[in-house]
Symmetry: C2
Subunit: 429 residues, 2 copies
């Protein structure tokens, strides 16, 4: 097969699986000795069962040995990691999700990224209270039991720290997708629409903002526009089926889909309704975007569309030439992912990736593209369009408008270099 | 509001949220002193913030303290549980998912039900092999790396043991939904379509069945019809985003959506293609259905439509009268859930429950219905229709056809009794 045939097939097949027909043709029609498309060149042809391994010759560990399970010891490297030196104390820093080791679209609860400002409090759920007050008809205090009676909804949404990928603004920096993009996770969140809780208290006319306060030692507070509070925000008590983990706000948190995760106040204890923002530390000295002209964008809450290739990504090594999949994640705080394109030559040519169903709003969407690597130096990139028509920018486009001084909302196209050795690094052309 | 008004509103509103309009009307129009619909009668009216709790006055535990997280210690009761005495050794028994403590539709990996026959093996992934042989063009042996190169798909599916709910066939037996229905879990599974793996080896004409063998001490084997193998079966290496847990087949398992979970062979090491079933222990002395006439149904693989109310369910206690939600799970091995109805009077009257999106094929679907409990004795039931038109049977209907001798495929309507004290038990009228 010539390179030309390969390119044509891949380009014409569109968002299905471009190599499937060729691969089927090869497989089904091939002689017994031929290896087929997706099989690694080194794969074994065998006609006797593999030797019975040792672990079939002895009993394993019994049922019920681990009433609450944990991953295999062989997966001990798949953990959250803290960037050392980001903060003088680890009571206020971040711990990153290992995106390069994950599959599908959900983040297991044990690996959801963390960002705390005064450590993780231990809150007995029976003693926790949520107060709603301010511009309301009836100030109310809710117990956890009160909230569990309300109609519950479950929705899959991503949470992304506004500072995710800040390391890459000045140029390639970190050595893995865990540290470049790992302040990003996705869970099924269960709770009560914030709208219901506010309406129970009765929002008064003139109300425009809601203050949310956490019950941690930092007393984290953010001002949320009432419009967002009455839209799809949730008061959440469960993630991925079970009650919230302590690091994610046990027993109660806010989840504001699509907006910077700092708004999704953890250990939620107080909602105050008012007519203007409170100008807390987290919306003045932090979480505002310093522009090149010295002014700052404030309340720039939306997490705009972004994508990243997770397989292969920096730190991975391609074992041998041949067919493999390029896989990644795409998301948009504005709604659904519409399309993703992938380039293997640094953005000169783009091919449409397959989006894997279900494509949900404000949720991670998995994309993939079959790729035959012939041992060349490759520059892998992905870019996403969301349903509003927004296209993920290049770094140059983003920096031209917003400069290099802002810490937050860096969503530019990411590049991974594949060397002829198969080593994948965080480098640009 | 009279009982008559309540009934009419609930019946006419259909699958939306029947009490929402009434609740909104009450809330938004009510005087400041009135408590609104969903709020528990005992909820507090307050106009000063709750006292600053102790856990806001000291630092919590630092970021990164738990590189792989775990649930709050306050949730220590939410664990898998083994029914004692089911088997002489816990190397071959089952451990049940605590459905009455879970939310949404996903099962956290630490709580996925277990059923093993020789314990859980510890398999180093680099040494694991999958062999494909028998009626194929090219017998092949795959490493894990080989399989990871193939195009990956992720799908959310339930797995249910064929013996789930066997305890209830003779009459109410177990004291919680964990033990009546807890051999049921739902995950996002990631892997390679089994079809791809078989086509890579080249299935020969005359092939009709596939034998799957596990690498555990029991050497678990099942015969799978080729039709199912080429449909939506998956060779799986990840669940809910991370690699498989040991209890769920690390490093490789089969997932055959919609069919009894025993077919989804864990620790998958061998696939043999043949022209007839192998008549293994698991499809002769076990996992066949003994009928009243002394004959046995064999290869009755489909998990037919089923539903159960999880909140409230046996073991729960209703704290106070008033509005609350009835919540449950519905599923069908034949495809999507089409509708669920709920009765609070033992099946005399039924109301349509809300199905929560996304409703995925062969996946758990969460349903809910608002309910005002006035302190009466109530008999809670749910029944599901799937998209094929199949309706979940009553116990009487099921037993009339299949008798009481079969262990497997009991999917009848479940009843929970609510006593005037609020105690919920597993009793029938």
């Amino acid at each position: 097969m010539t390179e030309r045939d390969d390119e044509r097939t891949d380009r014409s097949a569109g968002p299905g699986d471009p190599s499937r027909r060729r691969w089927l043709a090869r497989t089904m029609g091939a002689a017994a000795a031929a290896t087929a498309g997706w099989l690694a060149p080194g794969a074994t042809l065998a006609n006797t069962p593999p030797e019975v391994p040792d672990w079939m010759k002895r009993l394993g560990f019994p049922v019920g040995d681990r009433p609450y399970g944990r991953p295999s010891d062989h997966e001990g490297h798949v953990v959250r990691r803290v960037i050392e030196g980001l903060s003088p104390s680890n009571h206020s820093t971040a711990s990153f999700t290992p995106l390069g080791d994950l599959h599908g679209t959900l983040t297991p609860n044990g690996l959801v990224f963390e960002r705390h400002h005064g450590g993780v409090p231990d809150i007995p759920p029976a003693e926790h209270r949520l107060m709603v007050h301010g511009l309301v008809e009836r100030p109310l205090t809710f117990t956890m039991e009160d909230l569990l009676r309300f109609p519950a909804v479950s929705r899959i949404h991503f949470l992304e720290c506004a500072a995710n990928t800040v390391t890459e603004r000045a140029g390639p920096n970190r050595e893995s997708v865990q540290f470049t993009h790992g302040m990003l996770s996705s869970c099924e969140w269960t709770g009560v629409p914030l709208r219901r809780v506010l309406e129970e208290a009765g929002v008064r006319s003139g109300a425009k903002w809601v203050l949310a306060e956490g019950a941690d030692a930092a007393g984290m507070t953010r001002s949320l526009p009432l419009e967002n509070a009455l839209d799809d925000a949730l008061v959440v008590y469960a993630q991925n089926g079970e009650r919230l983990r302590p690091e994610q706000g046990y027993p109660l948190r806010l989840v504001v889909p699509g907006l910077e995760a700092n708004l999704s106040i953890k250990w939620l204890r107080r909602l105050e309704v008012g007519d203007k923002p409170w100008m807390t530390r987290e919306e003045t000295s932090k979480y505002s975007d310093l522009m090149p002209d010295g002014r700052a964008r404030q309340f720039s809450l939306l997490q705009e569309a972004k994508s990243v290739i997770t397989h292969p990504s920096a730190g991975h090594v391609l074992e041998g030439k041949g067919f493999r999949e390029i896989r990644g994640l795409a998301w948009s705080g504005a709604g659904r992912v519409k399309a993703v394109e992938v380039s293997t030559d640094g953005g000169r040519h783009w091919r449409q990736a397959t989006l894997h169903e279900p494509v949900l709003p404000k949720a991670l969407t998995r994309f993939s593209l079959p790729w035959e690597w012939r041992g060349e130096t490759a520059w892998l990139q992905s870019r996403v369009w969301d349903e509003t028509g927004y296209l993920q920018p290049t770094r140059e486009q983003l920096v031209a408008v917003r400069g290099e001084t802002s810490i937050y909302h860096y969503n530019a196209i990411q590049t991974w270099k594949v060397a002829p050795t198969g080593e994948v690094t965080n480098e640009r052309e």
